[in-house]
């Protein structure tokens, strides 16, 4: 199936602010029609990457390629991209109608066509009854929809979204997330979505790139990165609560954690130190395994988060809510070899 969305490639993008290198060579390929998330903690360079893609910021080296055309150095207006800003950036002195019409007026569209297009976009995001209002008279959610309508009105092939949901309350955020995804499918456009919320990225994106300190550390589908995090940083950034890390000793087919020996699926050769990662939901509490004691329990309704102390390391387990564990209780924890992620303690890379 071919998409009308644009393909995006970034080649070795470098951005410096004085002595600080904000982006250390970003390489990225986004397929036409894909919903692609740039995920990372704040200051990791994801928004800068988006702004370079939009042409709002100049970069120091590398190429931006849209649909096979090198657009490096061209003005934002020449790139046929639309953007939804975190702050929405609506024009406060214009009505909602004029806000949505603005991109069309700038390219001298006949007014009958503008009228039709504005009403169509507004009805797609369900704000057709608000066209006469000013942005200041809208709620946060309505403002966000107005910004979306303005972005889709001229049918761009690439859609850039900079944390568009971060100013909405939690419930509205979940609803809008789903609608955004449907809208992107219906319009058949490529979307690049910046967020620091890993759950948001995991649920909305076809693929995502994880940014850490100005570099992409991993690219893949949400399942890929969740199942096989490439580094310790990725592993501890994803999941809620994030992955547990335990120091261990690796030799051959065996790993020793807190004096407890476990059998692995593969042979890892000579003896060495290792960091063992296990997702909280993969930890079982029972009669056998590594000795631990319960520090704290948090009820989440359908599940319970249990803080466990394994010797010097702290581990969090996500257990079914029926498992009743008293704080201070002595227990044993175990997990399958298949659920263990092994990382090099020096390089933090996956073994």
């Amino acid at each position: 199936m071919t998409s009308r969305g644009a393909g995006v490639s970034l080649r070795n993008i470098v951005k410096r602010h004085g002595n600080v290198t904000a982006l250390k060579g970003i390489d990225l390929d986004i397929r036409p029609g894909e919903f692609f998330a740039l995920l990372g903690p704040s200051g990791s360079g994801k928004t800068t990457t988006l702004r370079i893609l939009a042409g709002l910021e100049a970069h120091d080296a590398g190429k931006v390629i849209l649909d096979g055309r090198d657009v490096t150095g061209t003005d934002p207006g020449e790139r046929d991209v639309a953007m939804v800003f975190q702050s929405y950036a609506l024009y406060p002195h214009m009505s909602v109608y004029e806000n949505i019409a603005f991109p069309l007026r700038m390219v001298k569209t006949p007014s009958a066509e503008i009228d039709r297009a504005v009403r169509e976009s507004a009805s797609r995001v369900k704000i057709e009854h608000l066209l006469e209002r000013r942005p200041g008279q809208l709620s946060g959610g309505q403002q966000q929809r107005c910004a979306l309508a303005r972005a889709i009105v001229r049918k761009p092939r690439l859609f850039l979204l900079d944390e568009p949901l971060s100013n909405l309350d939690a419930k509205l955020r979940l609803e809008t997330r789903v609608e955004l995804r449907k809208l992107q499918r219906a319009l058949d456009v490529t979307a690049v979505y910046v967020t620091h919320d890993q759950e948001e990225a995991m649920t909305i994106a076809d693929r995502l790139a994880i940014f850490m300190e100005g570099a992409i550390v991993q690219t893949g589908t949400p399942e890929d990165v969740f199942r096989r995090p490439a580094t310790v940083e990725v592993a501890t950034f994803l999941g809620n609560p994030p992955m547990n890390l335990m120091p261990g000793r690796l030799s051959g087919h065996d790993v020793v954690i807190a004096d407890h020996r476990m059998r692995l699926d593969a042979d890892y050769g000579a003896e060495r130190d290792v960091l063992v990662g296990v997702q909280p939901s993969r930890i079982e509490v029972g009669a056998e395994g590594i000795a631990a004691h319960v520090d704290l329990t948090e009820q989440l309704g359908d599940s319970v988060i249990v803080d466990l102390q394994l010797g010097a390391t702290r581990v969090r387990a996500k257990l079914p809510e029926r498992s009743r564990l008293a704080e201070g209780a002595r227990v044993h924890v175990r997990f399958d070899a298949a659920d263990m992620h092994l990382f090099d303690p020096e390089t933090h890379r996956r073994l």
Binding site: D75, F85, P92, F102, M106, V107, P135, Q137
Partner: protein, 279 residues
Amino acid sequence: MKRAFMRRLALACAAGALLSVWGFPVIWALLTSFKTERDVLAYPPKILFEPSLASYRDVLSGASSIVPNLVSSIIVASGATLLTLLFAVPAGYALARLDLPGKRASGFYVLATQMLPPVGLIIPYYLVLQRLGALDTYAGLIVIYLTFSLPFAIWLLVSYFEDVPREMEEAALLDRAGRLRAFWYVILPQVRGGIAVTTVFIFLNAWNEFLFAVVLGGNRVRPVTVAMFNFISVEQTRWASLAAGAMIAMAPVMLLGLIAQKHIVKGLTVGAVKGGGRR
């Protein structure tokens, strides 16, 4: 309930007291302007008197008419205001937005020019205008006013431009407006309050200016402030004519204030950006 009433009463009294301090000279001048020269000098001052329009007739159509001077003032003040805005608006925008080398230093320079006492500049300005052959010309006086109003206007406008979120402009750029149209359609409407304030300031300063007008103007260019000064002479001071002239000279200023007030609206940009409640 009662407390609230007392509070309002106290506030009203305070406001009334302040208003009377401001209003007394104005009202005194207004009354004087309707008196005859004889009544003006009466002692004790006459509260009740027969109003006369003689002074107004005198300053409007009499031998010492100030109408040509009003025209002079309008030309000088509007010229200075228009030219100032023409340069200050783009300059303020540039200083607020673009990364120019020496941007900080230029901001200081702008303020430094405001710290000079104007009197110190009269002689140099006189000599400069004289050598240029621009003494007693509209162009000369307007340029001199520009040297004061322009830095001040730029400095005032920069803060207004800095309040316009950058993203709003970027959105316009992505909407294919280009820099000029983004400026015209998106940025400029956000700062119209600031432009109104600046216009009023510059116009008022130029309209009320006396020192430079009396030294650098003279015969051909004689603004109303200078003309009114001529009512005070060695032989006599024509208080009633002076007051009538002052009343007439105040009128355009009042009018400007009323018009501008409508544009200096608060909260114009509220709702553009989350949490963005500015002027």
